[in-house]
């Protein structure tokens, strides 16, 4: 039998011209879903041991250490990001360290599509699909939260100012991609608060 054939959810798709922000797929992110209780010291210690950094307890925050990032998903759930090539090894280490501790670590690297949005005005484009107040000071770099986007569930990660990663279940990747292609059109710019040029 031949070699592995790998195909990310948005393989072969390119952003159309005339967008106000840049859009592309991140095709090769490793992801591990980790469940456990923050009140369980052994659990928290074991996770820290493997990841090199403590799991964030503060809602909607993330932490980073080397090429690992940990996104808070719930009070007992985290999404660990790493290079795809490292995911299997990291998962094995986690499972080993968590033996006998009530927890659940699952490789979910293939479950979601990741879309990277970059450029001034990303928040405005996203606000065409989500009711979150992305202009509030709450959404500083590192913030992550689940949301309803367009008609589906998504996960938003503010990577840095004007850089956003949007995670959606892979079956919806084309739907969200096409939604963003429409919402981000240059002529559809809204220029919220302060960037207006209008005579009233």
């Amino acid at each position: 039998m031949s070699e592995l054939y790998y195909e990310s959810p948005l393989a072969g798709v390119a952003a159309p011209p005339g967008l106000a922000v840049s859009l592309r797929e991140i095709p090769d992110r490793g992801m591990i879903d980790l469940r456990g209780f923050t009140s369980d010291r052994k659990f928290m210690a074991a996770a820290k041991e493997v990841l090199g950094i403590a799991l964030p307890k503060e809602p909607r925050t993330s932490v980073a250490w080397g090429d690992i990032k940990v996104l808070w998903m719930s009070i007992d759930q985290w999404l660990i990001l790493c290079p795809r090539t490292k995911a299997a090894e990291l998962l094995a280490s986690l499972r080993e360290a968590l033996t006998g501790i009530h927890s659940l670590a699952v490789d979910v690297s293939d479950m979601r599509a990741v879309i990277r949005m970059e450029g001034y005005g990303c928040a405005e484009v996203l606000m065409k699909g989500t009711s979150l107040d992305l202009q509030s000071p709450d959404y500083t770099a590192g913030t992550c939260r689940r949301m309803r986007f367009a008609e589906i569930a998504a996960l938003l990660h503010v990577v840095e100012d004007d850089v956003f990663d949007i995670y959606v279940f892979r079956s919806y990747a084309h739907y969200v991609w096409e939604f963003l292609n429409v919402a981000a059109r240059e002529p559809a710019k809204v220029k919220l608060f302060g960037s207006q040029d209008v005579t009233v």
């Binding site: 809602p59 998903m73 009070i75 979150l132 949301m147 309803r148």
Partner: protein, 117 residues
Amino acid sequence: MLIVTCPVCGAHGDETDFHAGGQAHVRRPATHDPVNVTDEDQRDYLFVRHNPKGLHFERWRCDRGCGKWFHAARDTVTMEFKAFYKITDLPPPELMAAAKGPWAEYFASRVKLESKA
């Protein structure tokens, strides 16, 4: 559009980011005594709901946030939320005092149980 705040993770947003789960503090009889549930107990548990004008206790889930269920107390006339509290908790004392109908009985029995414990 109701604006909801999750007492578990603090997520704050539209009701469409949450999931409304009906009347709160409904006791499931079979959990406590699977053998001696009368037909009437089961009927009341399944079908009989309180629908007051005014203070209403209800369940919500932080559907697009932390995924956790929680409780809310809401005025059905003004739609104002009076409190959000955890799924395992009882409402704040002043709301328990204002509760009517089956909730009043339920809170009284819970408070009694907990004070014994």
